[in-house]
């Protein structure tokens, strides 16, 4: 039996699978599972006699899985870093774009005091502008970007030293 701890959204469940027999356990239930790869990223599953087409692609910390109109990010708890589980690497309290984007406006300067929720940088992706806001009140210590820069999730665009409470 191979055991996986698989997370979708906030919920993690154990899946046990015997590669030799195809016996699978999930939520205390036993299933008969067999599968066949029908193309790149394409699996034809047979679960307890019912056929299901599944589509899979590598994604942050796991695989994106599409089944019958639903799409999930499935992550293996064992492959995720200890902290930051449960999301695709979104760290709270960091000023970073949600998608690859271009910086269209910078609303603050280094040394400036900002309130929680104050707009810092406006980025644009696919005709839609998004304002990145201060996660907490403080002083802007560093601006790591410039106008028209191409930026990606994870890049910290503005650093803020948190104000003391």
């Amino acid at each position: 039996m191979i055991k996986y701890h698989l997370r979708i959204g906030e919920e993690s469940k154990e899946v046990a699978l015997d590669p030799a027999t195809g016996r699978a356990g999930l939520d205390g239930q036993e299933h008969e599972l067999s599968w066949q790869q029908t193309g790149p990223g394409r699996l034809l599953l047979n679960l307890d006699g019912r056929q299901v087409r599944a589509f899979l692609a590598p994604a942050a910390g796991g695989r994106q899985v599409f089944i019958e109109g639903r799409s999930y990010l499935v992550q293996d708890e064992q492959k995720l870093p200890r902290r930051g589980r449960g999301g695709a690497g979104e760290a709270a309290g960091v000023v970073t774009p949600p998608t690859p984007a271009v910086v269209v406006r910078i609303l603050v300067q280094e040394g400036q005091a900002v309130d929680q929720g104050q707009g810092l940088v406006v980025v644009s992706a696919m005709k839609m502008e998004t304002t990145l806001c201060a996660p907490y009140a403080g002083i802007v210590s560093k601006i790591n970007t410039s106008l028209e820069a191409k930026v990606a999730p994870g890049e910290v665009l503005v650093e803020i030293v948190e104000a003391e409470q």
Binding site: I2, Y4, L6, I8, G9, E11, K13, V15, L17, P19, A20, T21, G22, A24, L26, D27, H31, E32, L33, S34, W35, Q36, Q37, T38, P40, G41, R42, L43, L45, N46, L47, V52, R53, A54, F55, L56, A57, P58, G62, Q64, V65, F66, I67, E68, G69, R70, S71, Y72, V74, D76, P98, T99, P100, A101, V102, A125, M126, K127, M128, T130
Partner: protein, 495 residues
């Protein structure tokens, strides 16, 4: 008639136009930006010309580069598609100067109808009902406040140069007006280079119903019936259908006649769309004219059997409309879903990236207008539309079921798409009942999160994939229980 057409656009609409040109025996010239080298619209044309860097201003919005590409390739006509330069009078003006045919209405018509307040004045003169509100823009806060008071809150603040939901705000009370007008004016200045605003009465929960019109250069104009486009996010449509479940034959005839009157009042030539809001009592009001081919034109093509791009090309070549109003008799029901690369669980945030898997549905009554394929890049510089899926059937319920079946089999991976959200709209009892209004999503699907219906199956699929296609070695092993992979079972055959 011209024999070579340049298509000044990208993605699905460039391919859509290209296909009709090919069917008519016209040579095609694609243009592209550095981000689109190798894109399907580039490869399927007879010729392709690089315009410049990815930024739209340097490529698809660059009038001089597009005219130069037409001249260098020997194209005699330019089709603008939708978006980019399609409603910018600068392109038809530059075409006229260069002796090229612009496939769309005259520059002066685009300019007049592009000013929302000028269009409202024109329609009122032509006897087309307009939404109660201002007929001229105003930059004075005190006067805006008086006008809003006279109309009665809630009011809708709109940009004279507006469109696409930008520079537009619902104002619920006098206290919000000042700040809303500042935000709106600055958004409008950025988006349209024109900060002028005006006010309209905000109709409660209307339907968005538009009429396709066609007008030739000989003064004939017809309408091709309506499209119901009420399912919107960010004031932008995601599902369209025809016919509209709310129209009676009598109302359709009156709205159609108003749409034709609107076209004729504007001196319209070529294909266009007259948009109306329809209230619960069956009263309709002019909203605006879109002076181009609409994204959602395929639903009209499915029910009328006509090819709107072919008709656009014929009209641009000076030919008369080959039919009259009485010859138009739509058949059945068509629904279109826009396949956007957006994350519906995160407020429809755009999702650029690489399409690592693309498994499109097929079958009777389906049409897929797509600009991408497996392996395509989805650049962050452009609109996130990937494709449009259209289902036709003899009636609305069958079309709805057909669309649901198709969406459930439409696997797109590598980017997020709105497919899971579309499934939930189509499956919603209010949608099934035809009760679609512009506040449908806010009312029924606010704060939408993906259903966990298939989550356990997805976990089992993941576990199977770990064995069948481990990340490091993507080539298949097969599962247990006598399911050999075709690669193993075909080993002894010569093919």
């Amino acid at each position: 008639m011209f024999d070579k057409v340049l298509i000044a656009n990208r993605g699905e609409i460039a391919l859509r136009v290209l296909r009709t040109c090919q069917e008519m025996g016209l040579a095609t010239v694609a243009v592209y930006s550095e981000a689109d080298a190798g894109a399907p619209h580039v490869q399927e044309a007879d010729q392709a010309v690089l315009l410049g860097p990815a930024e739209p201003a340097a490529s698809y919005l660059n009038v001089a580069a597009i005219i130069a590409a037409a001249q260098a390739s020997g194209a005699q006509a330019i089709h603008p598609g939708y978006g980019f330069l399609a409603e910018n009078p600068a392109l038809p003006e530059a075409c006229a100067q260069a002796g090229l045919v612009f496939i769309g209405p005259p520059a002066a018509v685009i300019r007049t109808l592009g000013s929302k307040t000028a269009a409202r004045r024109l329609m009122q003169t032509a006897g087309v009902p307009v939404i109660p509100g201002m007929l001229a823009p105003c930059m004075d806060a005190a006067q805006l406040a008086r006008e809003a008071e006279a109309l009665g809150y809630p009011v809708l603040l709109k940009a004279r140069g507006g469109g696409g939901g930008k520079g537009m705000r619902v104002v619920e009370s006098p206290a919000e007006l000042a700040e809303a007008s500042q935000t709106c004016a600055s958004e409008a200045a950025k988006a349209f280079g024109d900060p002028a605003l005006y006010l309209e009465k905000c109709l409660p929960s209307p339907r968005h119903v538009e009429f396709q019109i066609l007008a030739d250069g000989q003064g004939h104009a017809v309408h091709l019936c309506e499209r119901e486009c009420s399912i919107q996010r960010r004031h932008q449509k995601i599902i369209e259908e025809t016919p509209c479940p709310a129209l009676t034959t009598e109302l359709r005839a009156r709205m159609g006649a108003a749409a034709v009157a609107a076209a004729q009042a504007a001196g319209y030539v070529n294909a266009g769309t007259v948009e109306f809001l329809l209230d619960a009592e069956g009263k309709f009001y002019f909203l605006e004219v879109n002076t181009r081919l609409q994204v959602e034109h395929p639903v009209t093509e499915m029910t009328t059997g006509l090819d709107l791009v072919r008709l656009q090309l014929m009209i641009a070549a000076g030919q008369p409309l080959p039919f009259a109003q009485d010859d138009i008799s739509p058949r059945g029901h068509a629904i279109e879903c826009r396949i956007y690369a957006e994350d519906p669980g995160k407020s429809f945030l755009p999702s650029p990236g690489l399409i690592s898997l693309w498994q499109a549905p097929a079958g009777p009554g389906l049409r897929l207008d797509s600009g991408v394929r497996e392996g395509s890049a989805v650049p962050m510089e452009y609109d996130p539309i990937l494709a449009k899926l259209v289902a036709w059937a003899p009636d609305r319920e069958q079309a709805r079921q057909r669309m649901l079946r198709a969406l459930r089999g439409f696997a797109v991976l590598g980017v997020q798409t709105i497919i899971p959200f579309l499934v939930d709209v189509l499956a919603h009892p209010e949608f099934a009942a035809g009760r679609t209004n512009t506040d449908f999503i806010a009312r029924h699907l606010a704060g939408w999160q993906p259903s966990l219906e298939q989550a356990d199956l997805a976990r089992l699929a993941y576990a199977a994939a770990e064995l069948a296609m481990p990340a490091a070695a993507p080539v298949a092993a097969s599962g247990p229980a006598g399911w050999p992979s075709p690669w193993q079972s075909l080993g002894a055959w010569r093919m």
